[in-house]
Symmetry: C2
Subunit: 389 residues, 2 copies
């Protein structure tokens, strides 16, 4: 079986992007071990390592699955065998994924390369992956279409008297039948989530330890985020932020539903979220500063008198958007101290949300492609508050 | 809100176990950042760090959620603030979780403690967590009861003509409604799984990159394990290995179903799996060598003429069992070169399985508590091949 599942031209394109970032970081080679990055380089998750030198052909050291074939593919049982193949061409500087792989593994891998200076391949790969190729955009667009279809079913899955988790389970099933892979990839260890963050009523105001925009108590202190089993009541909102991974690449979309009449404060805040998105869709051209987009959003919330509720109430998130792709927390980061500049074919999710005490969370989230003229939306479900009853 | 959700006596018991392992490793203190270990120490996942000195009171540095209270709880925004609190009591040796937390974080944390020798807290915590407390055993037993109930529903969820993933989605829903948290915690980066590994027919013989006992092609090369969308056919088996996390602590159970008549080879192999479990249930006393249990299982499979199919066919797994608790890959490891000795109140899963080409996977997996007289079973679904049609 061929290891590499991407067309040759696509492999070349991605490796060129990685090499560009390697050059800026002054690295002669990178040795990649993280699943998300291996998937990026080959179109397949495998157990092993990809070695990308600045010059010369990449090597793929594969531990599992067995019997992988292709140019540069070398079966190994342990990383120490890498030394034999790289041999005399030892790089003078080598990037390892210092931000994601464990300390012990870095030690073991760097010991293979004596007299080699170790640098950080995490930032190299983040940089390369931030600008998507047309092939990647196609996968993200497909996820957006399928996720939109799942969201259109949500009102039909609700009945009065349901708990939040009962509704979430119905949505999970609809989403899985639509082809959702379930897996929710996040770089680093700071976040964990199972399939969806569905928040109804005051549970939205429960703080979470994780670095998500919204919180929720969760069903158990071992996974403290999202649904807490409360009955969905009239006068409350239901915010649905459901896994959009249908292709290995995700879209991230949030929509809010209304159970009967809700307060005008909540209605106003939801409208403000839509307006922030509209404004950022024109401001978010390639070349725009991510921190400026953040400030525009915060200002609009403040102008509307909604600052106390913006991005959380008892606990606030420190960003309004983030890059999306293979993982949910890619570059650029739309946050106050971000130094990121938007580039054409970045894919970002914007999620200007509000938590209104006693009512619930309101607002929307969309995934966009950055273009030279603004943001192109990939998550096309209707944005207005929809009635569940 | 109180940070610590465990009874005082339980906190003391767990910290004493950690201190025992620290003493063996020659560590004056450990600084813990990993979610699974924080949950072990406090009964809650939080963003931050637990500092356990060999002598004196533990400190809990909490970044999120906000407003946590309790003895030793100190709110921080960044790890550098830890220095102020530990101050003059700087340990001469400090354990960090070198096997699980990223290299960059280890660098940042070790920089706080100048003149301190850094050791490995991963092995300390693995050791401490391997022997379960009565409180932990209660949670694991509860998961076993609820998982057993879910398994009893599987035949009623099947209908002829279904694909593997359609059946899996029905089981996922039943399991979630029974209270399954979904989250599947695995130490390290080598494995990823969404909720279940359901294998029907020849898909069981597709190798996976992950270090699971069984494989499967998966629905997408970004998550290459488990169901591949094939129709479940007569003459094949369906092996169900479904997430058993109902309490923050998991049980691990596998059962196999038969679709109409299957070959006598497959029937014989299934029977052999049950016999291996019966034998190991009496051999698996505290004091037993994990590697001996492995050898007994391999010998029994060989004696039965089934060696070619044992623990996989095209690709084989290198173990027949593993510790279970908060994570799915705890100590002890039941593998040929394991040096682990079984101890009372270890919790282990044994999974002597076979892959029979063209028929599918057969065999069972159970989770057990190690006692002085053998293994006590916690996963009580019937073990014989059950008919789906």
């Amino acid at each position: 079986m061929q290891l590499i599942l991407l067309p040759d031209s696509e492999v070349t394109r991605r490796i060129e992007k990685v090499r560009g970032a390697m050059a800026s970081a002054g690295l002669d080679a990178v040795l990649i071990a993280d699943n998300a990055n291996l998937y990026y380089l080959t179109g397949r998750v495998f157990a092993g390592y990809a070695y990308i030198p600045a010059k010369g052909d990449p090597l793929y050291f594969v531990r599992r699955p067995v019997r992988m074939e292709g140019c540069g593919v070398i079966p190994v049982r342990k990383p120490e065998q890498i030394a034999e193949s790289v041999g005399a061409d030892t790089p003078s500087s080598l990037g390892l994924e210092l931000d994601t792989i464990p300390y012990s593994l870095v030690g073991r891998l760097s010991a293979i390369f004596t007299d080699t200076k170790i640098g950080n391949a995490s930032s190299v790969m983040r940089q390369a992956r931030a600008v998507k190729t047309p092939e990647e955009l196609k996968k993200i667009e497909t996820s957006g279409i399928r996720q939109t279809h799942v969201y259109s079913m949500i009102p039909s899955l609700f009945h009065e008297g349901m708990t939040d988790i009962e509704l979430q389970i119905e949505i999970e099933k609809a989403s899985r039948l639509e082809g959702c892979l379930g897996q929710f990839r996040i770089a680093g260890n700071s976040m964990e989530l199972y399939m969806a963050n569905l928040l109804s009523g005051d549970n939205a105001d429960n703080p979470t330890p994780y670095d998500f925009a919204m919180g929720g108590e969760g069903l158990d202190p071992s996974l403290p985020v999202g649904c807490n089993g409360s009955v969905i009541r009239r006068g409350e909102t239901v915010m649905a932020d459901i896994n959009g991974n249908f292709t290995g690449y995700m879209t991230d979309m949030t929509r809010t539903f209304r159970v009967g009449e809700i307060s005008s404060l909540a209605e106003t805040a939801h409208r403000c979220s839509i307006e922030i998105c509209r404004r950022l869709e024109t401001e978010g051209k390639s070349g725009a500063k991510a921190s400026d987009l953040y400030e525009i959003a915060v200002d609009m919330a403040r102008q509307a008198g909604l600052h106390d509720y913006f991005m959380g109430h008892r606990q606030k998130a420190g960003f309004i958007g983030h890059g999306v792709g293979i993982e949910i927390n890619e570059l650029p980061v739309i946050a106050p101290r971000s130094r990121d500049i938007l580039a054409e074919n970045n894919v970002i999710a914007l999620e200007p949300k509000f938590v209104i005490p006693k009512i619930g969370a309101v607002g929307i989230e969309n995934t966009y492609v950055v273009t030279t003229t603004g943001l192109r939306k990939l998550t096309l479900a209707p944005e207005e508050l929809e009635n569940l009853i």
